[in-house]
Structure formats: C-alpha cells, structure tokens
C-alpha cells in the first residue's frame, strides 16, 4: 500500500465522513484541539522557563517537571486524537500542505530535543536540580523547546489559511504563499 492510498483510505473512512458532514463536529473538535495545544504549550513553558532560570527560584527542577508533565502528556494525547480527526476529514489536502508538513517536522524536532534532554542532560539532574541557573545544555534545551513549540503553533494556524478548502474563499489580492 503506498502512502497516498493509505491517505486516501483515511479520507474515505467513516469517521472522516462524519467529521466532514456533521455540522458541529469540526468546531467542537477544533476547540478541543486549541485548548489541548494551549495546555501543552503553557505547561511545557513553565518547565522550559525553570530550565532558563526564570523566575529566579530554587524550586527543584524535578518537582516542577513531575507536576507539569502529567498535564502536558494528557493534553498532548487529547491534541493528538483531535488532530487525527481533523487530519482524517481532509487527509489528501493536509499531506500536500506545506504548513502541515512543517508542523509535523517541528513536532519531530520537539520530540528529539526532549529525548536528547532526557537521555543526556537529565542524567546529571542531581547536580543542578536546585540551581537557579541550570547548565548550558539544559538552558539550550529549554530555549529550543520554547522556540519549536511557538513555531508549531504558528504553522498549525497557518494551515487554516492555506489548506484550500476554507468555506469562505479568501479575496484574490491576499497572498498566502510561503
């Protein structure tokens, strides 16, 4: 099965059909997606700021990450499910969309950044857990995380303006191209 036939299969599925035809499905699913994405960003932002030493407190990093990451993963899971539903509804258009592709690459980068942090920098957390200013590697991971997640949100919103099936066609003089 080629990738495109898989994508076509997703778009032809019953749930995709329901997403397209149900009047309220799209606004409800989109709202939950925005809420989940905002929660993912807000909770990760708190952890990233702690890595950057902002605000200047000695609350242990592990305590903050333990508190936040349960919320982050729950919200991420919800975003994943609602995102998959939105993707299914117009799968063919999404895979061709540059903003969507950028967003997926950025999500992979966010995961990679987190994996490197967990596997390398976090191993020595005992040495800097209560430091106001964690080591450079940790601060870089925090800054990268903020940057990547901001970009994810921007490209996510950009999809809505470039996907090409918006109910109201944009005026001809608006330039949405990259």
């Amino acid at each position: 099965m080629t990738l495109m036939s898989l994508v076509q299969g997703i778009q032809d599925s019953g749930i995709a059909e329901w997403m397209r035809t149900s009047v309220k499905a799209m606004p409800v699913v989109e709202s939950i997606h925005v809420l989940a994405a905002a929660t993912v960003f807000g909770t990760i932002f708190i952890v990233d700021l702690r890595l950057l030493g902002v605000p200047n407190v000695r609350r242990p990093f592990t305590r903050i990450s333990d508190e936040m990451l349960r919320l982050t993963w729950t919200a991420f899971f919800v975003a994943l499910i609602t995102g998959a539903l939105m993707f299914a509804a117009n799968a063919n258009t999404y895979v061709e969309n540059t903003a969507f592709r950028c967003k997926m690459v950025l999500l992979l980068l966010a995961g990679l950044n987190m994996a490197i942090f967990q596997l390398v920098t976090f191993r020595t957390v005992g040495n800097w857990n209560t430091d106001v200013r964690p080591p450079t590697a940790a601060r870089v991971a925090g800054a990268l995380s903020i940057l990547v997640w901001l970009s994810v949100i921007f490209f996510a919103r950009w999809i809505g303006f470039t996907k090409g099936y918006h109910f109201e066609a944009p005026p001809a003089d608006v330039n949405f191209s990259f």
Partner: protein
C-alpha cells in the same frame, strides 16, 4: 452604515487584510497567550484545590503565576483588538464573539476579586497571626472553603467556555443555528 462596516473599510483594517501573514501571526500569538493565561489560571485553581504546589503558601503561588496571567491577558487583548480590526464584520456578526467578550469580563473581575481576597495583599493584612510571624507554614487540606473552591473551579469553566467560543466565531451558524447573528 454599521460600526462593523465602517471599521471594515478603515485603513488599518485594509492593511491587516492585505498582508496575508498578519492575521495568522496575530492568531498564533493570541493562542500562545491563551496557553499562558489558561495554564497560569489552572495552576492557581489547582493550588486552591490543594492539588498543585501544596507545599507553598497560596500567596507565593499567586505571586508566581498572577503576573504571567495579567501580562498574558494584556497581550491577548491587544492581539484580539487587531484581529477584530482585521475582520470586524466577521466578529461583530458572531454571537460567539459577544458571549466571549461578556465571559472574559466576568472571568477578569472574579479573578481580580479572588486575588484581592486570598493573594499576597490579603496575606500581609493578616500577617499578625503567630504562625505567620514564626514563618511556619502548615498546609491543610481545608485551607479554602467550599465556596472559594467553587469560585476557583468556576473561573476554569469560564475559561473553557471562552476558548470554545473563540474557535466558534469561525462557525457561528454551525454552532448557534437560528440564534446566529449572521445575516441579521
């Protein structure tokens, strides 16, 4: 001519519309600040329920998150104003928009009152107590009355409604049917 149409024809509205990247960029900043405001508010509410940072006194938690909440709100309002200027008719003819504005005002007022009642200022007013003077802090499960917890929970419900209504502006007819202001 309606206010919406007048704004729609204004120079600033035209400028926002013609540069295609401005609205998505403003919307992205708007969503990011919703994340900051919503999660800051959530941290405060979870602290009221004793489910987050229970080892810290409430005024400390309030001081940690309230500035982010208020600054986030200001950025949110500024980007929101430009979004309205960009597409005034779309916003003014959406029932969701007006409900959202009303709930936003309610959320801000209740949060401000909550902060005045339980935040650092209230704590310093009550600083005469022996426990405070000794610097000892003993968190208790029933630190907040059921009423205070209900208010904190209520604020979160209002925020959920605000976020839903924000997205629903794009779907006024789909969400509200005959109640939608579109076409009136």
């Amino acid at each position: 001519m309606s206010l919406g149409q007048g704004l729609e024809d204004s120079a600033i509205s035209q400028a926002i519309k013609v540069a295609g990247w401005i609205i998505p960029l403003l919307q992205s900043i708007h969503i990011v600040t919703i994340g900051v405001v919503f999660v800051s508010s959530l941290m405060i509410a979870l602290r009221v329920f004793g489910r987050m940072r229970a080892d810290e006194p409430f005024p400390v938690v309030w001081k940690r998150f309230a500035p982010w909440m208020w600054i986030g709100l200001v950025v949110m309002v500024i980007t929101g104003v430009f979004l309205v200027l960009g597409e005034p008719v779309r916003e003014f003819t959406a029932l969701s928009f007006w409900l959202k504005m009303t709930l936003l005002a309610v959320a801000v007022i209740i949060t401000a009152i909550f902060g005045r009642t339980f935040g650092p200022a209230a704590a310093s007013r009550a600083a005469g107590s022996a426990a405070q003077a000794a610097g000892a802090y003993a968190p208790t499960r029933d630190e907040f009355s059921p009423g205070a917890k209900a208010v904190a929970g209520g604020i979160m419900v209002i925020w959920l409604a605000i976020i839903f209504l924000g997205r629903a502006i794009a779907y006024d007819v789909e969400v509200w049917g005959s109640l939608s202001l579109h076409g009136t």
